[in-house]
Amino acid sequence: MPIHELTSAYRRGETTPTAATEAYLARIAKLDGELGAYLTVTREHALRAAADADARYRAGTPLGPLDGAPLAYKDVLCTRGVTTTCGSRMLERFVPPYDATVIARLAAAGAVMLGKGNMDEFAMGSSTEHSAFKPTRNPWDLARVPGGSSGGPAAAVAAGLAAGGLGTDTGGSIRQPAAFCGVVGLKPTYGRVSRYGLVAFGSSLDHIGPFARDVTDAALLLRAIAGADPRDSTCLPAPVPDYAAGLPQGLKGLRLGLPDEYFIDGMDPEIDRAVRAAVDVVRGLGATVERVSLPATPHALATYYVIAPAEASSNLARYDGVKYGLRVPGARDLVEMSSRTRAAGFGAEVKRRIMLGTYVLSAGYHEAYYGRAQKVRTLVRRDFDAAFGRVDLIVAPMTPNVAFKHGEKEDPLAMYLNDVFAVPADMTGLPAISVPCGFSVQGLPIGLQFIGKALDEAGVLRAAYAYEQATPWHTRKPALP
């Protein structure tokens, strides 16, 4: 049940936050052993928060539409007093003394934290196979990956192990798993949501956003977490609109652009068909759709794999065994302590990216790689600027393929290609959403992406909502017990 329906039921007295929370916890206990969506289940914490919400509903003073909503948070978001591992051995026992701003804001809105969702280590990956602890399985086909890096919360929402959740998106890590799991995933504008308390991967690319069963929930969650934060200088001061209130405005009169570069060779023909069918639906809802060109798109992914690792190599330098997290004992000196700790604490993908990032920032290579990547990033941004001179929104496929099997993409480059349509919105910081737009013949979800102008989350949500309401996809559920 979506959050907005659940909390309406609370208000009508049909159920209570505690009852709902207990039901979710029971479902987690029953299914998560197989699914692997959670790294930590915060049962006591959740029941306490639910009891508080019960009292507010009883008193007739709920905090708002999220009061008592049971949520799953990606384990990259710091939670005070609750282990925050980032899917890494390095932070296996790290308990932050502070809440991320988004966590604090959702708590203030009455949300109930069910637990911390599984993820690729330090958010580096597209399958949640690179979690140091366990893989997460796709609820639609347990042999397949849920996508990544926010595979845990995406799978939890899809499988009904949470009413909604938060993920992070540095190179598609919300939208790609949302597409793979058949849920709604929204990456807001860079700066729309505070990054304070998000364990950094690529600081200029990291975004926090919601996973939801439908677009209305995504709108409600975004409103709760968005807005200026004195702890994050990159957070924008723009006022936060009531996104949910704007949803019913429909698509009439909106101009949508369909980028040529997002239909590539090697793309799954089922996805091509589903997206083109979705475009017809959108057109039928009163929008005009025209072809646009974003010529820098083919370079965006390569550029991403310069900038993101560069920033990661810097952000992950702090894990040295000195202050917190893992320290491998027995070292004779400082260098040995840090080397052994980092050798044991980081997985292969993280090490690969640290090495890559260190290399592209090194003297002699800095300009050729990092410097050029920044220039290409500007070109990608200019493409969108030009397109948005003509259209209000971009509509595009979310992924070139549906969820793949565990172990299928062992070649890192094949894995990276999964995010080819996702990365441009991270590089430009533009808001983008993935909504379900159909299923493959094997019954695997397909995602449709809308990308908007900076700070036009309202437009993106409104288009996604119109499409969602005109199609049945969001009502389908995976065949789980």
């Binding site: 978001l77 710091c78 925050t84 980032c86 932070l91 790290f94 932050p96 003394p97 502070y98 991320a100 990054r195 304070y196 308390g197 998000l198 364990v199 950094a200 690529g202 600081s203 200029s204 004195p230 702890r231 994050d232 200088s233 990159t234 560069a310 920033e311 190599s313 810097s314 330098a317 702090r318 040295d320 000195v322 202050k323 917190y324 997290g325 400082l334 840090s338 260190t358 920032l361 090194s362 003297a363 800095h366 990092y370």
Partner: protein, 497 residues
Amino acid sequence: MSTMTKPSYEVVIGLEVHAQLLTRSKMFCGCAATFGAAPNSQTCPVCQGMPGVLPVVNRRAVEFGIKTALAFDCRVNPACRFARKHYYYPDMPKNYQISQYEEPLAEDGLLEIEVDGTSRTIGIQRLHLEEDVGKLLHEGTLETAQASLVDYNRSGVPLMETVSKPDLRSPGEAAAYLRAFRAVLVYLGVCDGNMEEGSLRCDANVSLRPRGAAELGTKVEIKNMNSFRNVQRALEFEVERQAKALGAGERIVQETRLWDAERGYTRSMRSKEFAHDYRYFPEPDLVPLEISRAWVDAIRAGLPELPRARRQRFVTQYGLPPYDAGVLTQARALAEYHEQATAALKRAAPSLTLSQAAKSTSNWIMSELLHVLPADDEAAIREAKITPSRLAGLLKLIENGTISGKIAKDVFQKMFASGEDAQAIVAREGLVQVADESALAAVIDQVIAENPKALEDYRKGKTAAKGAFVGQIMKATQGKANPAMVNRLLEEKLSKI
């Protein structure tokens, strides 16, 4: 000077000065930035570099940077950017330092220095802001310690780095630059200038080149010079070392050397091959800092009087000799001390001209106060028990003839130690000058009578014998005799004999 021993080479020195800013909170978080608290008591997730935290720029630190930049006539850039500087060290919690690199706060300034009466203008290349690192504490020595502890209280304290152009031509000039630099910072109130506590730190780049050459020689960076004296000593040593090496036909290796103050030499720390690759890139957690003209103008309007201007004013307003003005204005507290004492003396002794009062206080400050307190110890001068008004009280007693200058020196010592008023000490110890003609005349008669030998000498034309009489008279009156009156009466008596 040792630099003169190898006249065939020209010395080229540039200084990098790090100054801790006197802000209440740290550069990127709200923790207190004060010195001396219990280890790790002034820390938070941000300055401990915990996962997920973000820096937020301290506006006051930027203001202090702009203030300093304006004092050095720098161009304050309309936009600047922070950058990450990477290297691994456990006192640096993130293993990168947030600094500024390609786009500093300010550039192209200058500082006038004076060495041996000649003034020179030294260029300032850039001024930027960054964060300080923590401190490592070892049990025992670094070599024997079983473990090291880290105190992050200093981590994140605002630092301002100012890089001079390679315009300094001798260790003496370098020391003069550092003194003048420090004085400006202290005048501005942006740094306490304490080198021993590390709130002011200096690294130097030193190279030699054949006289007349346009190209710079290979430079060596010198670190760990924690006092003005050490800066001069270290640079003198290094210049000598390089001159010897060059003279012997050796090549200078580009490297970083540490000054060992105890042993009096510099030793190699790391060579160019092992130099850090800092992998700078713009700090993505901070937006570029835009500095409005209006803000710069407001800060400019609020700038205090700086050492050079004050020195000039001391000459024109008080009629002080340039030398006095230079000594008195070298440190803010000292200059303020002089002005307050002068004003108090002028009030207490209205018959004095402003210039007389100023010169009188100047003399006493230079000969007495600076004899017991270092000129650049701001706190000591500000907190001296002999306050400016007490010094004026003492000088007034000299002016009105109550005590002699000689007695006043003793009284000064007592006032310095106890903080009492001059009047109280003089009254209690009966130091009032004997200026009663008949009483003095009797003493003089007695002294002449008791010293027939001196009288004889005097008669033979040895006028020096007169001095012996004066000494005896002062001794007999315990120094309280009015010297002018003694001279006059003695003259009269001797001429009659």
